[in-house]
Amino acid sequence: MSSPSDEQLEGANGGIQPGFYYGRGVPYLPINGYPGKLIAIEGTDGVGRSTQIMLLREWLEVQGYGVVETGWTRSPLMQPTIELAKASNTLNKLTFVLLYATDFADRLEKEIIPALKAGFVVLSDRYIFTALARAGVRGTDRQWLRNLYGFAIAPHMVFYLKTDVETLIGRVLAARGMDFWESGMDLKLGDDIYDSFRAYQNKLLREYNSMAEEFHFRNIDARKPIEVIQDELRKQVRAFLEA
């Protein structure tokens, strides 16, 4: 017998089938086994995702795979609005979540699904887990979030570039400094951006870790050298694509 909470989670992720919708999906876009593959690279800011994706893409193309990249908040429809809303600081947690979901829906329908249909390998820089983690930290109802993203396609592989706050702080400061949203300043965890960044990123990492099992994350130690991480990614991707 499963507990009530297990039952509640059923449907959102009960038996994830890679390449198909997590939940209720988009009824007017039925999926019947597309040839493409969806690979998501997740991890917090400053963890080295874009570098890894660039290298992975290069390698995949040399191997003869067609590659399409998609990234969080990059839809032409929503990007200006999201930037504007962030700049004017008017976002409350609910509109935050819904703006991201709109952006994702736009990219799903216009980039991801067409690419999967056409047999591409889709490399997704962040996926819905970023949204789930950020909203989870902000106290949004978890079941509601999972229902909301029931229209997302479960990736064939989810790589989670796992790190710790100390490493993250070093990288972010060296690269570009801490910004308002990355530091979760909207959560009012403290007036000091450094303290807020540390507290916020700690909470985020806990959220990601709590999703690892539910969404079948493949953990990759992001503290290792770039080449070592890339070798690991290639090994797993090769094994999957050639299986």
């Binding site: 509640q8 939940g23 209720r24 999906g25 988009v26 009824p27 007017y28 429809l77 929503m78 200006p80 609005t81 504007l84 809303a85 008017t90 409350n92 609910l94 509109t95 819904l98 703006l99 979901a101 709109t102 829906a105 736009d106 799903l108 329908e109 216009k110 109802d141 079941q143 509601w144 229902n147 909301l148 029931g150 229209f151």
Partner: protein, 233 residues
């Protein structure tokens, strides 16, 4: 799971909403209701569907390029609604005011399902909404609605006419097909959420009398606050 939409709210104010297809006369009725409430000394706030500044830019871009899919259309409206709920609807309800909403979540349920979005998904999406104290549904036959709109020489808008669905190249014909389906969705919603049906083919005055008759008992029920000052605006 959130289910605010199914539970009575605890705010001191009242939330009354009007629903119906374009040309059902709901906006006219809402305006008359507002006039009466203000004259009676109530503090009233009116909010319209899809009117927040936050998503205006994206909706405009999307509409101009006809780039909205049923899912992004649905989510943009939910974003707009969330923004208005938190900034425009809940604060006056907390202050004991009467909030009048021209269209509410039921518009999304009806339109999005017509566009092929999953019915249950949309309902869950909006489960954070406050349940109205009264939801009036102005039911009108499609022919009456089309006649009213053409008599007013209203230029049918692309999405309102459901042109995005590609069911007919003629705006009027597309409107007829699309809104006809929306009417069927509303019929489901009436039972599911207990909407109060108003026969919208009757005269404006008769309808308004009916509306006030339905609203009046709800005003005394929990003693909505009145002001002695002259209404502003």
């Amino acid at each position: 799971m959130l289910n605010n939409l199914m539970q009575r709210h605890e705010y001191p104010g009242k939330l009354f909403v009007v629903e119906g297809i374009d040309g059902s006369g709901k906006t006219t009725q809402l305006g008359l209701l507002a006039k009466w409430l203000v004259a009676e000394g109530h503090r009233v706030f009116v909010t319209e569907w899809n009117s927040s500044a936050l998503v205006k830019a994206a909706t405009k871009t999307g509409k101009k390029k006809n780039a909205l899919t049923p899912m992004t259309f649905s989510l943009l409206h939910a974003t707009d609604f969330a923004d208005r709920l938190l900034y425009k609807i809940i604060p006056p309800l907390k202050a004991g005011m009467i909030v009048l909403a021209d269209r509410y979540t039921y518009t999304a349920f009806a339109r999005d399902a017509t566009r092929g979005v999953d019915r249950q998904w949309v309902r869950e999406l909006y489960s954070f909404a406050v349940r109205p104290d009264l939801a009036l549904y102005f039911r009108v036959p499609i022919d009456v609605s089309v006649d009213r709109l053409t008599a007013r020489r209203v230029k049918l808008k692309f999405y309102e006419a459901g042109m995005d669905m590609g069911w007919s190249p003629s705006p009027i014909e597309s409107f007829r097909i699309f809104q006809g389906k929306v009417l069927e969705e509303y019929d489901r919603i009436v039972d599911e959420f207990g909407l109060q049906v108003v026969d919208a083919s009757g005269s404006i005055t008769a309808q308004q009398r009916n509306v006030r008759h339905l609203v009046a008992p709800l005003l005394v029920e929990r003693g909505v606050e009145r002001t002695d000052e002259q209404p502003v605006g």
